[in-house]
Structure formats: C-alpha cells, structure tokens
C-alpha cells in the first residue's frame, strides 16, 4: 500500500483506535486522536517532500499537457463489470489540499481539548469525517470520489446535532439536506458523464480523454458546478452555511469552513472544468456574475452580524465566493487563485473559528456588542485574531493577499469565451468587497478587543493555554509562510493546473495564442 492510501487510511485507523479506548478515559482519547493526526501531519510532510522531488522535473512537460499527471498512483479493480476502480493518486492541487486538511485536523483536535460530553464519539466522528475529506481529495475514480464525498458530509449531522449550540437540530438538518440535494445534482451529472463515455469506466483520467458532445456539456456543467457549489457556498445556495457554522462546535466549524467547503471548489474544478471544458466556456460568465454576488453579499452580510460566528460565516461565504470566482474566470491565473484561496481561506477561517471557540469558552458570549477590551486580558488571542483579520482583508504578507490578487488578476484577464468588458466590470465590482471586508473586520475586532473592559467578569479571564497557543500558532505561521514565500505552494499547483487551461484552449476554434 502506497503513500496515498495511507493518507486516507490513517485517520480511519485513528478513529478505530479512539473507539477502542474506554469512554471513561477522555484524556487518553484526546492523546490518541492527537497522536494519530500528528502522525498524519508528519506523513503529509514526508509525502510533500517526495512529491516535490518527483514532480519538479515534470513542470516543463505540463505546459503542453492536456491530462494531469498523477503521482503515487494506486489502482485496484473493484466493481469490475461497472469499471469502478479503487484509484488514488496525488497531483499538485491534491497535495495542497492534503496539506491544508492535515494542518486543520491537527489543530482542530488541539482546539477540541475541552470537549467533555461524549468525547469518544466526538473524536471518532471527526476522524471519520476527515477520512472522507482525504478520500475525496485523493481519489481519481468518480465513484470512489462520490462515495468519500458523502462520507465527508454526513457525520456533520451528528457532530452539529449532538455537540452544537443554539438551534442545533435545525441547523444540522438544514445543512445535511442542502448538501445532499447538491450531491443529488452531482450524481445526475456523474452518471451522465459515465454513460455518455460508454459506461465502461469511472476513471477520471480516462473519462478526460473522451470528448463529450457540446450539447451534453452544456446541461451537465451547471449541474456539477451548482451541485458542488452548494458545498462551496455558492449564492443563493449558501444559506446552510451561516446556520451550520454558528451552531457547530469549534473543531467542526474549523473543519467545515476550513476544509469541507473546499470540496465544493475542488469538485467544480476537478470534475466540472476538467471534464467539461466546453460547458465551462458556455457558463463561465454566468457563474462569474453569480459568484460576484456571492462575494459582495457575503461581505455586506457580515457587516450586519453581531454574533462572532455568524460574522465569520458570512465572511466565509464571501471568501469562498473568491474560490468559485477564480474557477469561473477560466484562466491559469484564476485557477491558481482559486486553489490558493482554498488554502489560504482554509487556514484563515480555521484560525478564526478556533479563536472564536477559545474566546467563547472564556466569555460565554459570542455577541460582539457585549464584549470589549478583551485584548487586555487575553493578548495572545487578540493578536492572533488581528492576524487572521488582516489576512482576511488581504494584507500583503499573509496568504490571503497572494490568493486574492491572483483571483482578481485572473478575473481581469478574463477569457476568450466571455465578453472582456463584462468580466472586467465584474472583477472591479468584486474587488470592492475588499473595502467592505476591511470595514467589518476592523469594526468587529476593535469592538471586541479594544477600548475599556466592558464587563467586570472579563477582568479575571485568562489568556491562551499551551494547547491553544500551539494550535493558533501553527495556523498563524502557516498563513505567514504562504504569504511570504508563496512560490512554495504555487510551484506545487501550477503544473497541475496547466492541463486544465490547455484543455480549455484545445476545445477547438476558439483557442487564442498567448492567452494568459
């Protein structure tokens, strides 16, 4: 069994190990979970290094390739008569997403150190969910992909329903059902892709060699894009997201906003754009317009929020809009921006939700107007919060800037299949959201952390504990490293994204030489 399989299997084995520990020893359960996810982080680091060595020499070849080259491929025939394989592999996008997920689950376990209700089930479900996430990122067989996709979504119901706060049953049900309707769309699209290609394989690399009729691409692409878009908080299908995030416990919010929502952008790119380039060309402008609404709607929505979690959830809707905006702009710059934004938003929002959980654990309120002056008693948390806020409004030096600049440049470059005037206009409008973001981030943070301490109860609060410092520290460092040395990540993903662009241009008469 190779590295790719171990990356999927390790969290699952950790979940089993957690289940084997008696429930009366919560301390041991946490340590088992932390060891498992820590080992995963190490494995991910090792895989990244190996990947680097293997993939670097191939970057030049990728410039003209129309098929993504996979590394660490493992293929085992599964349902032979259907053409279903157990097919896992790694390319640059996958690698970036695996790094992100591995960091988030490790810090998520640290941030859940104080879960005391039904600890065992909590960690087991969390790890099963992450198994699903890794499975989605690593599988290159559509059947397997879909299977993992649902495994990643469903544990959310119990995680929010049992350990959540507020109207948790409602939020959990809304979230689950909306995402499942999304996956119903995906299923229709997937089966169409399978049968139009002859009904012999679900292998993405083989399906990519089949040319689908343009008519078919035009009706399947929106199904796939919207189906995944539901998870990626595509307006107007984002409504599960604020409720879900607000009700979820800390680690679940972190994972959900940090990683799970990325599955949406990832799927739209990997299945939608990759397999259906002509469908993407047809619908690109439409989805660019829709995601512009996404970006602005989320940002304006965040201004009005008084609950820190709703605040971050709306900000996530806005930032996930960037991901889909980048995908819809259909050029290399946009795609790179989309993947970078997935990474940077994942880390950033993970940090946000971790911090909110920590602040809430102390103040027992998440209502912004009720708080004030907290920086005096919890300087570490305040500084981290500010760093997350700055990253979120795109301050250079943090990952958010790199990602957003790519996305906006990508949008501005536009593509050969959409009116350049319109794509530019949309980009300009979307860029305005940065100003709005600055307004809500600065206002919100100033209210919570600065000024005099508003409530005498707050005077005796303590700063971050060692586990909290560790989890927030890791995330802050990641944000800064990617912000300062973005080349590390960009080199990783660019070679994987070039074939996507080449496929778009290879579709026929509309290829434009020298297009960005």
């Amino acid at each position: 069994m190779g590295l790719a399989s171990w990356l999927i299997l390790l969290p699952f084995l950790t979940a089993l190990a957690v289940l084997a520990v008696p429930a009366r020893r919560p301390e041991l359960i946490r340590w088992v979970a932390l060891t498992g996810t820590g080992a995963h982080l190490a494995l991910t680091a090792f895989t990244t290094l190996r990947f680097w060595q293997l993939a670097s020499p191939d970057i030049a070849a990728a410039k003209i390739a129309t098929l993504t080259k996979l590394y660490f491929v493992e293929r085992v025939p599964w349902f032979k008569s259907l053409g279903v394989d157990y097919l896992v592999g790694i390319d640059g996008i996958t690698m970036a997403m695996v790094i992100l997920t591995s960091i988030i689950i490790f810090t998520g376990v640290l941030a859940s150190w104080n879960v005391i209700v039904r600890t065992k089930e909590f960690f087991a479900l969390l790890l099963v969910l992450v198994t699903g996430v890794f499975g989605v990122f690593l599988s290159f067989d559509m059947f397997l992909f879909f299977m993992f996709y649902e495994v990643a979504v469903l544990p959310m119901y119990l995680l929010i329903g049992v350990w959540g706060t507020g109207p948790k049953e409602y939020s959990a049900m809304k979230l689950t059902l909306m995402l499942m309707v999304g996956s119903a769309f995906i299923l229709v699209g997937m089966l169409a892709l399978y049968h139009y290609a002859g009904g012999t394989t679900f292998d993405l690399t083989q399906l990519a060699q089949h040319h689908y009729p343009v008519e078919m691409q035009r009706w399947v692409f929106p199904l796939i894009f919207i189906g995944f878009g539901v998870l990626g908080a595509l307006y107007p299908f984002h409504t599960w997201s604020p409720d879900g995030h607000a009700s979820a416990p800390t680690a679940v919010s972190m994972l959900h906003a940090g990683v799970l929502m990325k599955l949406g952008g990832y799927g739209a790119l990997r299945i939608g754009v990759y397999l259906l380039p002509e469908g993407a060309q047809h619908w690109g402008l439409f989805f660019m317009a829709l995601t512009t609404v996404n970006i602005l709607y989320g940002a304006f929505g965040a201004i009005k929020q008084t609950d820190l979690k709703f605040f971050t959830a709306y900000s996530s809707v806005s930032h996930c809009g960037f991901v889909l905006f980048g995908v819809a702009s259909l050029n290399l710059m946009g795609f790179k921006g989309a993947v970078l934004q997935m990474f940077s938003h994942g880390v950033m929002t993970g940090l946000f939700f971790a911090l909110i959980g920590m602040v809430y654990g102390r103040t027992h309120t998440r209502i912004i107007p009720d708080m004030g002056g907290l920086a005096k008693v919890m300087p570490w948390l305040a500084v981290c919060f500010y760093i997350a806020g700055m990253a979120s409004l795109g301050l250079p030096g943090f990952a958010g800037f790199v990602a957003e600049s790519h996305v906006f440049l990508g949008g501005f470059f536009g593509n050969a299949w959409s009116d350049p005037l319109l794509t530019r206009a949309l980009t300009v409008v979307a860029t305005l959201s940065i100003v709005v973001t600055a307004v809500y981030v600065l206002r919100g943070l100033a209210k919570v952390f600065q000024g005099p301490i508003t409530d005498p109860h707050f005077e005796h609060l303590t700063d971050a504990t060692i586990t909290e410092k560790l989890s927030t520290g890791i995330l802050v460092v990641t944000l800064a490293v990617v912000g300062l040395v973005p080349g590390l990540l960009i080199d990783l993903i660019e070679a994987a994204l070039l074939p996507f662009v080449n496929r778009l241009h290879a579709t026929g008469a509309l290829a434009v030489a020298g297009h960005p």
Binding site: W78, F79, K80, S81, L82, V84, F143, F146, M147, F148, E150, V151, L154, Y157, L158, G161, V162, K168, E169, M173, T176, L177, M180, V181, S183, A184, F185, L187, V188, L191, A192, Y194, H195, G199
Partner: protein
C-alpha cells in the same frame, strides 16, 4: 432435485403441523429451532445444487435468476423466524406473545413455499397458484394478534388482496385470449403491440402493484404494516415485496419484453409516483411501523428503475438491490421488533436516547437506516447507484434527478429517527433493551451483510453474470 428446496420447506411445514399436536406448551419452544433447521437445510440444498433445468413439462424451471430469488426468500425466512423467536417462545411476556407458535410457523413456511415456487413458474396457471400461496397465508399472519388493529389489518389486506388477484386474473385471461397459450415464453412471439396487449399489461402491473406497493396500489400497506405483529411486518416488507418483484420480472422480461422499451415512460412515471408519494408521506409518520410502510413503498419506486434499460444490467441491479434491501430492512426491523417486544411501543419518539442506553443497537439501527437512505459505504448506496445508473443509461436523466432528490427526502426522515436515538436524551426510567441470542445474531448477520455487500464486489458480480446468462437463455 430441482425442486428440492421447495420440498424440504413443505415437509418441514407439515412436520411442524403434526408435531404441534403432540407437544406441551413448554416443548413447543423446540419448534423454532426446527423451523430454522428446515429453512437452513433448504438453503443448503439450494446452494449445493445450483442446477438449471425444467420439470413438470416445462411448467417449473430453475434458472440463474430464480436461484437468487430463492436465496433471498430463504434468507429472509430464516432471519424472520430468528427475529420472531422472542415472541413465539413460551416465556415471552403475555401481552406481546404470539399464540400457537406451531401454526404460525407452519403458515409462514407454506407462504415461503409459495414464494419459492413463484420464482420458478413458467405458465399462467402455476404462476397464479403460486402467487396465491404466496399471498393468502399473509392474510392470516397479518391478523395473528386478535385485536382491533390486527383484525383491521387482516381484513383490509384480504379485501384488497382479492381485488388485486381479480385484476391479475383478468390480465392473465386477456393474455390467454390473445395468444391461446399458457406458456409465458411462447407469448412474446404471439403478442402484437395493440391496445388489448397494453390493457393486459396494465392489469398485470396493477395486480402485482398491490404486492409490490406501487403507488397508486399501495393503500393497504400502512394499516397492514401497523396492525400486523412486527415480525410479520418485517416478513411482509421483505419477502412479499421480493415475490412481487419476481412476478413482475417474470412477466416483464418473459412476456412483455418486446414492449418494455415502449412502456419505459409509463414505468418512469410509475416509479416517480411511487417514490415521491412514499417519501413525502413517510415524513409525517409518528408510528415506526407506518413509517417503515412508506419507506418500503418508496424503495419499490427505486426498484422499478431497473426495468428502464431492459438489459441484463437492469435485471442485475434489481436483484442485487432486492438482496441489499432485504438485509438492510431486516436489520432495522430487528431493532424495531426488539424494541416493541420489550417496551410495547411503536412510537418513533420512544426511541429517544437509545444510543446512550444501547450504543450498539443504536449504531446498527443507524447503519440500517443510512443503508435504506443509500449512504456510502453501505450497500444501500451501491444498490441505488446501480439502479440510478440504469435510468441514466436509458437516457432518463431527469428521473435520476427525481430519484436522487427523493433519496435526500428519505434521508430527512431517516435522520429523524437518528436524531431521536442520538441527540435526544433517554426518557426517565428507560432501561436498556436486552436482545436475545437469536435476535442479536440475526441483527449482526444482517448488519454485516448490508455493509459488506457494498464493499466486497463478489456478490454483485455473481448476480451480474447470472443475469447475463439468464437473459441469454431468454433469447435476447
């Protein structure tokens, strides 16, 4: 040899009937193991002699798909008897006890014989007789508890069942009138695509539709499911449905095969109506048995998708899903039966906090419900996926959408039970349920089967190749 399983089951039935006369109340506890042994031997005979061939001048035939149907019937019977053991034994609490275990088991076994024969029939008369044997004993079983609900269930079932039989006979009569033959295999060549053929087909579908609970022929199901003793409900929801599918496949593929393609739109509509009505009405149910009735109705809707493509892929998808559904549904019913047996309740809200009282039972029930909803990696997912794939292959992409959205709706109501079990706290004074050994074993087997069938491809591949062989024998 070809009829060995049927003969063993009938012999066991008669043996129980006679033994019952000589046993004391206490000794009757032996009847359950005896019945189990009979069914197990029959299943063994089936597995060890997978021969194909014809008997009785071509009226009875053993073929590749009949084998799978018989296996499903025998498995379902074995598991149902195991699940019933708790309420049949003399030590069971008086209020929930099923009286006369000997007669109960005998009737169940005769019913099973009817179903086994059904899968092998090749002409209208044998088919009709087998179908009646697979139906009439169910009226008795449904009314076994002689209370108001049980009486209503039995009576309603019988009246509607008689109507269904009448429709079916009318259809068979018309077919005979059109072709002048009783043999199913001889009919396609003699039938023409005209209105009378259509009429005959519609009558047959209506008649079988009652058994398969297709909308709009599903009206009896909720009351009967609710009024019958829960183990009988389990048997009804699995075996009776399987029998319905066996008949529909016999008639659909052997008689109406040339017209299947023309009828595909009608099939699509029937499937849409069945799953949509079943799912929407299930949402508002408070009684778990009625709930399972509507759940079972919707499952029949998914099953129908297999007829759309008309090839061996469709047949294989239906048979595989039937097996998956049987295992998954029985695993859910195992918990329902146990819960009913020890609390006397059938209310969904009485499952609250089950995960804290009986973590393993709740887990098994959750897996069962997720299996019914079609969540991977459980086999329900693969089963549904195959059926949806058949619809997509036939070009019915909109129907795939309808079916997938329906699955989501079904997830909503299955999650309602999961919510009771996992999110709500146990009621005050609630005690953990204590499963008996037999029920526990049955639950373990069904849960394991419903997981493994979706991960280990062996069974599906076997069904697939059987279906291919079967269709080849039909002469494409």
């Amino acid at each position: 040899m070809l009829m060995l399983p049927e003969l063993i089951v009938v012999a066991t039935g008669f043996l129980l009937l006679v033994l019952d006369l000589f046993l004391t109340e206490k000794q009757r506890d032996l009847l359950v193991p005896l019945a189990l042994a009979g069914v197990a031997v029959a299943a063994g005979a089936l597995v060890l002699t997978p021969d194909t061939g014809v008997l009785l001048g071509g009226r009875f035939a053993m073929d590749a798909l009949a084998w799978w149907f018989k296996l499903t019937f025998l498995l379902a019977a074995f598991l149902t008897i195991a699940l019933t053991s708790g309420v049949l034994e003399s030590a069971a609490p008086e209020a929930r006890k099923l009286h006369s275990p000997g007669e109960f088991l005998t009737i169940l076994l005769f019913n099973l014989t009817g179903m086994l024969l059904l899968a092998s029939t090749r002409d209208l008369i044998t088919l009709y007789v087998a179908l009646e044997l697979a139906t009439i004993p169910l009226f008795l079983l449904a009314a076994w508890r002689r209370d108001a609900l049980g009486g209503e269930a039995g009576l309603k079932y019988m009246v509607i069942g008689a109507l269904a039989s009448a429709l079916l006979l009318y259809g068979f009569g018309t077919l005979y009138g059109l072709t002048g033959t009783m043999r199913l295999d001889a009919m396609p060549a003699l039938l023409h695509a005209d209105r009378t053929t259509l009429f005959a087909g519609a009558l047959v579908v209506a008649g079988v539709g009652f058994k398969l609970t297709l909308v709009p022929f599903h009206m009896w199901a909720p009351e009967v499911y609710q009024g019958a003793p829960p183990p009988v409900t389990a048997w009804l929801s699995v075996a009776s449905k399987a029998a319905g599918l066996a008949v529909l496949m016999l008639v659909g593929f052997r008689v109406f095969r040339p017209f299947l393609h023309d009828a595909s739109f009608a099939i699509a509509l029937l499937a849409t109506a069945t799953m949509t009505v079943g799912n929407l009405v299930a949402i508002v149910q408070r009684n778990i048995l009625r709930f399972m009735a509507f759940s079972a109705i919707s499952q029949a809707g998914y099953l129908l998708l297999g007829f759309l493509a008309g090839g061996s892929v469709g047949a294989a998808a239906m048979v595989f899903y039937l097996l998956v559904y049987a295992m998954t549904n029985l695993s859910v019913f195992a918990v329902i039966i146990l819960h009913n047996q020890q609390t006397g309740s059938t209310q969904i809200t009485d499952y609250r906090g089950l995960s804290q009282l009986n973590p393993l039972l709740a887990l098994a029930m959750m897996f069962g419900l997720f299996g019914l909803a079609g969540i991977p990696p459980l086999s329900g997912f693969v089963g549904k996926f195959l059926l949806f794939s058949v619809a997509a292959q036939a070009g019915y992409h909109w129907l795939v959408g309808v079916a997938a959205v329906n699955s989501t709706v079904s997830l909503y109501y299955y999650l309602r039970i999961v919510r009771q079990m996992y999110i709500e706290s146990p009621a005050q004074g609630a005690v953990p349920l204590k499963p008996g050994a037999m029920l526990g074993a049955a639950l373990l087997v069904t849960t394991a089967a419903s997981m493994l069938l979706g991960v280990v491809p062996t069974v599906y591949e076997a069904v697939r190749s059987s279906a291919a062989v079967w269709l080849q024998a039909l002469g494409q």
